[in-house]
């Protein structure tokens, strides 16, 4: 059962150089896929394609078997009901002028989800481990980790099937990062997740499949354990070798 399929996707900005070339991979329903790459790998661009913010020039993206067409407004609306995102910078992803209540319920209003929006927001806020009075406050009253939890609440409030996370823990301090990774792990039990990150350690902790991207190409993809224990591509090997490890007790 695949939820998301990319078939030979290619993209370039304007007439510039190819940012993505011949990208093909699948995200099985219920899985947790990590998309790993360094700067210039094209991972952010790939995410923009999946968010429907850009259109691939070649190839296609299939969601639940149907091709994603950014220009088809009703189809996009249906897609957005089922796909939500969490971004990197918790300081820029929440509108500072709004209360949390309004921020978290925005997808419900925009997507015209029926039902009691406040109750759904309360449920989402509880699910990310924040207290109910969070809803009456403003973003500036929260720390980076708490803001990221609020952003996650906004992403899950409409009960999407797929969560796209863009470096969603990279801006957080180590001790906060571990707790937010735990939260993602918990959430991923209920939905499919594509986790884009440069941090192999986080992806290894969170994902069951890994796709390695380098300069616009997929160099390797497979089960997390296989990639970590027997990397095939030299780039994957050098990436793994480069990660500084903690000293071990003598």
């Amino acid at each position: 059962m695949t939820l998301l399929t990319l078939e030979n996707v290619g993209f370039s900005y304007g007439k510039g150089q190819r940012v993505l070339e011949d990208i093909s991979f699948t995200v099985p329903r219920g899985s947790n896929v990590g998309l790993v790459g360094e700067s210039g790998s094209g991972k952010s661009t790939l995410l923009r394609l999946l968010l429907g913010l850009e259109r691939p020039q070649t190839g296609r993206i299939l969601f639940d078997g149907a091709p994603l067409e950014a220009r088809d407004a009703p189809a996009m609306r249906a897609y957005r009901k089922r796909v939500q995102a969490v971004f990197q910078d918790p300081y820029s992803s929440l509108n500072p002028a709004h209360r949390i209540r309004r921020i978290v319920t925005e997808p419900l209003r925009s997507l015209k989800v029926p039902g009691d929006h406040l109750a759904m927001a309360q449920e989402a806020i509880a699910a990310v481990g924040l207290s109910p009075d969070t809803l009456d406050r403003h973003p500036h009253q929260f720390s980076g980790g708490q803001r990221q939890r609020i952003a996650i609440a906004r992403a899950i409030v409409s009960r999407p099937e797929l969560i796209l996370a863009d470096e969603a823990v990279s801006a957080l301090d180590l001790s906060t990062r571990v707790r937010v990774v735990d939260l993602f792990e918990e959430i991923s039990e209920r939905m499919t997740m594509l986790f884009v990150s440069h941090d192999m350690g986080v992806v290894a902790a969170l994902c069951d499949r890994i796709v390695v991207l380098d300069r616009g190409h997929i160099v390797e993809a497979g089960e997390t354990a296989t990639i970590l224990n027997a990397p095939q591509h030299p780039y994957t090997r050098s990436l793994l070798d480069s990660i500084p490890r903690m000293p071990v007790a003598p």
Binding site: L51, G52, L53, M76, R77, R80, K81, V83, Q84, A85, F87, Q88, D89, S92, S93, L94, N95, P96, A97, H98, I103, E106, P107, R109, S110, L111, H138, H140, Q141, F142, S143, A151, R154, S158
Partner: protein
Amino acid sequence: MSRSNARTGKTLTLWLSLVLVGAITLAGVVSFVWTPFALSDMAGGRLEAPNATHWAGTDRLGRDVFTQLMIGARIALIVGAGAVAIGAVIGVITGILAAFATRFLDDALAAFFDILIAFPTLLVAMLVVAAREESSLSTAILALGIGLSPIVGRITRILTKQVLSQDYITAARVCGTSWPVIVIWHILPNIAPFLAVNLALQFGLAVMAEASLSYLGLGAPPPNASWGRMLQEAQGTVYSAPWGAIFPGLALFALVIGINLLADGLRDRFDPSRRSA
């Protein structure tokens, strides 16, 4: 120590500006229902110095200067508010359009703003008055509003571009929020604090420009008592009866300074960038 001193200083300045602007606004509002004399009352002696009956003296027609000052306050505020409102509506709409437009249209609009700004507001206003071929209060307001609009447009365009680069805009797009809603919910509330400060500064500019228009005889026609026209009429008698020029000059100075200080003070209070955790 020095920081708390600075803060006390800021609070003092804010209060001072509130008093200045408040007093002039009060005078303007009261002038609708009461003035010491009627505007056309020429019963006073000519060019009387300030005295118990005529608090600010009389002009060369024997009219009470204080009465004219009060009505001048009303005119200044109406012109300032009207011009800023017109400038804001035109400027905000074109500014947001430019920020959203394709690269080509954006560049064209940005260049257009810059060219218009290169002309002094007063000059643009004079052209509008000339085009309408009559000088009236509404013409002055419209003229100044059009003159201010490129300044507002330019700053709106820049502020909007900054907001557009924020992740919460992407987040809104991703959860299906439409562009008009994004403008109303996300862009306007976030550019409003900065825009408000800028508009307050434009208000001061409009008041001064109106005085200049009136001084040149292009503003509100008689019997409207504009500070600018008072200054113009007092020109011939400035040495024999300086109060005729000093009082409107002071009133103009107080209003413009007051509004500028108020804008500064409000920015310090409400600057969203200082709303950090």
